[in-house]
Subunit: 203 residues, 2 copies
């Protein structure tokens, strides 16, 4: 994506440790060896809705990063694309890069709103799995099946190398069990999660 | 985003003319002077769910493009980022590029699911505006207000030049009235729509 990998960039990451979207940013920064400060923002306590937070991000969403020049960025996938510019987490080949972006946009539209939301409702809002809205569960399962199918021909989502597509998708997929999804039904997904965790050095 | 603008790329665009997501791709291709064939796919008639379409895109969504080497890509925003690589529709500056991506991910997560869905329900499913789900309307209005706020300091979403952020956001914003939203409440958005339409040479 043009530009050079800036290994000395210093950022502040405002994030909630329970949020996969926020963890994506930390994992990317760690993987790149970037220095940063993590500022914990408790969503459930309303800390992303305070006047000072809203001044930084009007949408009241985490993660937000503040770059070393003081400028802010939001949207997890936009942030990791920015941080990882010029690094091995973004494929050199233009078509592979497009496929990485395809997965990343799909993640925000067709995966996160179901897999992450089910998990949030069960784990943090006390809803039982049986009481989840059936459409939510159905679409979450469809997303997991789509991942299973997408991993039929390669070890990672884009070919044989870890990319930001894997970072973006693994975040909530590895927590899907907390929302009542049976990951055991998706064996390629399970193997992929282990590989991505190993590649990112997370457990 | 690295790479060179390929002005001789020939693509097939599979799209439904009623879909803003599909129009984004046509506008981008037209703006870049790319040659392409448009293959109309009628979503309402189920043409995106036929076996032959699903073989091309398992998710059964339009748009899909098939590049001149026969490889397919889906996800409107990933497609336009690929087609426009190296062109003036993508800012040179790394931070501006990140802000463009921020708007594009936000569009798919916080704008399209409300503004486009309300319009689809009213115009194509015969629902009255009064019967729209209140949360849908509220979030659609919040998205339009976020755009209005985002245009306070600049003519386009990222500075003073048209970028893919404008292409992605204008698609359903200009049709918001069809879903019962009152664009007159967002005067900067109205002025911006006119500028983007002029920049893309669409009416």
């Amino acid at each position: 994506m043009g530009g050079k990998f800036q290994e000395d960039i210093v950022v502040k990451i405002y994030g909630d440790s329970i949020s996969g979207n926020c963890l994506k940013v930390a994992w990317t920064a760690d993987s790149l060896g970037l220095a940063y400060d993590w500022i914990e923002v408790d969503i459930i306590k309303g800390e992303s809705r305070t006047p000072s937070f809203l001044a930084m991000n009007r949408a009241g969403q985490v993660p937000v990063v503040v770059l070393d020049d003081g400028r802010a960025l939001s949207q997890s996938n936009a942030i990791i694309l920015h941080l990882a510019e010029g690094s091995a987490l973004i494929p050199d080949d233009a078509y592979d890069r497009a496929r990485m972006l395809e997965w990343m946009f799909w993640e925000q539209y067709s995966h996160e709103p179901y897999v992450a939301v089910a998990r949030f409702q069960v784990r943090y809002q006390g809803r039982s799995v049986a009481d989840l809205e059936p459409g939510l569960v159905e679409r979450g399962k469809a997303a997991l099946q789509r991942l299973e199918d997408g991993l039929a021909a390669s070890s990672f989502l884009v070919g044989e190398r870890l990319s930001l597509a894997d970072v973006a998708l693994v975040a909530y997929t590895r927590m899907a069990g907390e929302g009542g999804f049976e990951l055991a039904e998706y064996p390629r997904v399970i193997a992929w999660i282990a590989k991505v965790e190993q590649g990112l050095n997370i457990t």
